[in-house]
């Protein structure tokens, strides 16, 4: 019986694998095209300290990460507890770290720019 069940699961799994591969490929192609063209309207529009184009890249990357983790790494079949203990931990700590480091980097940039250090030699 157990073997039967896994065989059924398999047929849908192969289909899902190729679907996810198609999604990942399309996203990558879109990223590359945007990266080569760099549409002026997206580069010039700034949204929360970054150009809209960069935001699009980051969002697309997170979508890719979602598909890799959920479909390829079978996170969708794990228990809620395992999923949350991995995903929530990582998301919380990374957001925290990124927020702190980027804020600090921007502060140092301001010091270099407006402070007393001459940078033109």
């Amino acid at each position: 019986m157990a073997h039967d069940a896994s065989t059924h699961e398999h047929q849908s799994a192969t289909k899902r694998i190729w679907t996810v591969f198609a999604i990942l490929s399309i996203i990558t192609i879109v990223e590359v095209i945007l990266g080569i063209i760099k549409p002026a309207s997206l580069v010039e529009t700034s949204f929360i300290y970054m150009s809209l184009l960069n935001w699009i890249f980051i969002v697309l990357t997170i979508v890719k990460a979602y598909y890799i983790t959920w479909a390829f790494m079978h996170m969708e079949h794990e228990t809620k507890g395992l999923r949350r203990s991995v995903v929530w931990t990582v998301i919380f700590l990374i957001s925290y770290l990124v927020f702190i480091l980027l804020t600090e980097g921007d502060y140092i940039y301001e010091v270099y720019k407006n402070g007393h250090v001459s940078w033109n030699f």
Partner: protein, 327 residues
């Protein structure tokens, strides 16, 4: 005797050591997940540190499209992104073959697992080779640049704004150039162990006679590098030029701030090391599949566990690709 027995009330349940495993995952798989969690934090620390440096030099960071624009057999053409896009596809595809191997393992199909594992290993090897080629181009450099007294990198362009290589700028002067060795000079001077192709005087002299311009690292409002006028360029070269820089190492590189090359070597190197170990582990599991270890165990879970690691390597590359080449 009865009084000394501690009863927790969890006998037979999950946390009391019952038959059900915590989180309904086997020990190995759960630990692989937590290893991946910690490894993900290491990588994100690297990438966040890269972001820190980038924000610190937000108006003078190198433009990735100008640095990574090589493609095999297309020398001299400007091909930004194509090569890394290809590498990304190779890695995603090897991820697909890996997950197909895991899937075939669920159905206990040994020959299919063998085939897909083999394809995964090949994909990983091709990726590693591509990475090596990318490093070679990065280390060798293309145009060369000059470092100023303040440690800034300045590059040469012609009147149209196209990059000009050092060999076009420099004028060969007579006279011997001697490589400094520790035995006949200051033993503690370890800099400049290899002489650059041209001396700084040759570059200065050649620049005076040409009509080339200097391009600084500063980005203008359109995101392009600032090009100085001819007078400013001459002044910059005469007053500030300190040394010739060709290619990249951990101390200085011709693309921009030293940190740019440092992070490139560290992050892609650390990722490449993960790919390398991933390929090794895959090879071990591949041979285990062939000799029938998992057939005897009646479970291909080991393939699933190394699969997790392999997908993680792909996952990291997705982020490296975005933050190094796109953003």
């Amino acid at each position: 005797m009865e009084a000394t027995v501690v009863r927790t009330g969890t006998e037979g349940k999950t946390w009391g050591g019952g038959s059900k495993s915590p989180l309904k995952a086997s020990y190995g798989k759960m630990m692989m997940w937590y290893f991946i969690t910690s490894d993900a934090l290491t990588f994100s620390a690297f990438l966040a540190a890269y972001g820190f440096s980038r924000y610190k030099f937000i108006d003078s960071w190198p433009i990735a499209d100008e640095v990574f624009n090589h493609f095999p057999f297309m020398h001299g053409t400007d091909a930004p992104m194509y090569y890394v896009a290809l590498m990304t596809f190779i890695l995603i595809f090897s991820s697909v073959t890996m997950v197909l191997a895991v899937d075939a393992g669920h159905q206990m199909k040994k020959s299919k697992v063998t085939l897909y594992m083999f394809l995964t290993i090949i994909g990983g090897a091709i990726f590693l080779g591509s990475q090596a080629w990318e490093w070679k181009n990065f280390i060798k450099g293309e145009y060369g640049a000059v470092e100023t007294n303040g440690g800034q990198i300045i590059q040469f362009v012609d009147a149209e704004g196209e990059r000009v290589a050092l060999e076009k700028v420099a004028k060969v002067l007579p006279g011997d150039r001697v490589e400094h060795e520790s035995k006949n000079g200051l033993w503690y001077v370890t800099d400049d162990s290899a002489l650059p192709t041209y001396s700084i005087d040759e570059v200065k002299e050649g620049f005076k006679e040409s009509n080339y311009l200097v391009r600084t690292q500063m980005l203008d409002e359109n995101g392009a590098k600032t090009i100085l006028s001819r007078e400013e360029s001459l002044a910059m070269i005469n007053d500030n030029a300190a040394r010739v820089v060709e290619g990249a190492n951990l101390t200085r590189n011709e693309y921009g701030p030293p940190l740019f090359a440092d992070f490139f070597f560290f992050i892609t190197g650390f990722h490449g090391f993960h790919v390398f170990t991933g390929v090794l582990i895959n090879i071990i599991i591949f041979f285990n599949v062939i000799i029938g270890t998992y057939e005897k165990r009646k479970s291909y879970e080991m393939v699933e566990k190394v699969g997790l690691y392999w997908h993680f390597v792909d996952l990291v590359w997705v982020f490296v690709f975005t933050f190094f080449y796109l953003v």
